[in-house]
């Protein structure tokens, strides 16, 4: 057996060793109970850190942070948290404005669809208490309300066969007007969102397209005056099947 040093013990605790070295460390630990106790304690520390701090990952993102990441240039002004509630509507508007600035550079409105959808997904899907404005118990009202605001008949696709239930939806500001977002959740608490906005592009229909906005899988298409984008942190093949199901229901 090669000599086991302190660094090996840490790498073992952090799960960073290749299998053969791992086995050597395990043999060492079996023969050296004091080292084994230390390593067990380090592993417990890692677990404790995750148990205490991982919940931060599930908190809704503060809008001032989303704004800070959306700004083209850093500004010295700090937006104080105390005022955040007052700026909720303005904040989402600013986000839309930020996307609007980008679209001035982009040739087509369609090109901005996956990114706008991914941002909306990232902002709202971690929300635990208020993921939606109108929940699925009032699905008829939800669809009627969003249809009225977009000025276009909408349908919320059904993903029950794929294991996702409708949670509800919300109205968002977009670069060219109101946007509807429908949110779904499966048994593993994974969430997907369908982002729908008016898109009076010259092309009557576009085929399915796929984009990856840093971890968020987005499938998007335009059909009869509406742009659709389905977003989720779900692997690409599964997202593809979900998007296909949505496409078949919306554009039969």
């Amino acid at each position: 057996m090669n000599h086991i040093n302190e660094d090996d013990l840490h790498a073992y605790a952090d799960g960073l060793l290749p299998a053969d070295r791992r086995a050597e460390v395990e043999a060492w630990l079996a023969a050296h109970p004091e080292d084994a106790a230390r390593v067990q304690s380090w592993i417990a520390q890692n677990r404790a850190l995750h148990a205490v701090f991982d919940e931060v990952l599930n908190e809704p993102l503060p809008l001032e942070l989303v704004r800070a990441a959306s700004r083209r240039q850093a500004k010295p002004v700090r937006w104080y948290r105390a005022a955040a509630a007052l700026f909720v509507v303005a904040g989402v508007g600013f986000l839309g404005y930020g996307i609007g600035l980008r679209s001035a550079e982009a040739p087509a409105l369609f090109a901005t669809l996956p990114q706008a959808a991914a941002i909306a997904h990232v902002v709202y899907s971690p929300e635990q208490r208020h993921p939606v404005e109108v929940d699925a118990q009032h699905a008829d009202h939800l669809v009627a309300w969003l249809s009225k605001r977009l000025g276009h008949e909408l349908h919320a696709p059904d993903f029950k066969k794929q294991g996702f239930e409708l949670l509800g939806g919300r109205l968002l500001p977009g670069e060219t007007g109101p946007v509807a977002q429908f949110m779904y959740q499966d048994g593993l608490n994974r969430r997907i969102t369908l982002y729908v906005r008016r898109d009076e592009a010259k092309q009557a229909e576009t085929s399915f397209r796929h984009a990856r906005e840093d971890g968020v899988e987005v499938f998007y298409w335009v059909d009869r005056g509406l742009g659709y984008a389905l977003s989720g942190n779900v692997d690409q093949a599964e997202m593809g099947r979900l998007a296909d199901a949505a496409y078949r229901q919306i554009s039969p």
Binding site: W42, H50, E55, L65, A69, R71, G98, Q115
Partner: protein
């Protein structure tokens, strides 16, 4: 770098900052400063490099500057645990408080290594680059931090047992 890419990293920057700074408001200020710095220094970021590691490097530099500033000293002090979140997981509130207290007692440079490796799961070499120190320094800080945490956490258990007796 797109807005969505940057926004994707906010949750993990917030987790690290929360563990580093302990106070949620200060932690989010640190994240906001990091994002603003990232946008201001966008020219310095190479698109083929790891965006997450670069953002953590920016945050480390800001954190170090804050620690040097006397007006920000309370950042590393242990104030009473009035806003400690209650974990929804298997950890008892007592252990949550112990972890917060033990982290706060670590010297900042040890706390950073402890969190980059144990919580954020960066490889040792990446942690060394983020902190701008040799890999050997990361290992020695990690070793000291973990042993100190072990003594603090196990020492508390011993104390509690004695109280029970």
């Amino acid at each position: 770098m797109s807005q969505a890419e940057l926004i994707q990293h906010i949750p993990r920057l917030r987790r690290y900052a929360r563990a580093l700074a302990r106070d949620a408001a200060r932690a989010d200020d640190l994240v906001q400063d990091t994002l603003e710095r990232a946008l201001a220094k966008l020219d310095l970021w190479r698109p083929d490099s790891d965006l997450r590691a670069w953002l953590f490097t920016l945050m480390h530099n800001l954190f170090v500057n804050q620690m040097r500033s006397p007006s920000n000293q309370p950042l590393c002090e242990l104030d009473e645990a009035n806003d400690v979140p209650v974990s929804g997981g298997q950890m008892e509130a007592l252990v949550v408080r112990d972890i917060h207290a033990a982290l706060a007692k670590l010297p900042p440079e040890q706390r950073e290594v402890m969190l980059l490796v144990g919580l954020e799961q960066f490889a040792y070499a990446d942690a060394a680059r983020i902190l701008g120190v040799p890999p050997g320094t990361v290992m020695s800080r990690l070793s000291r931090a973990r042993e100190r945490m072990r003594q603090m956490l196990e020492g508390q258990q011993v104390t509690k047992l004695q109280v029970v007796k």
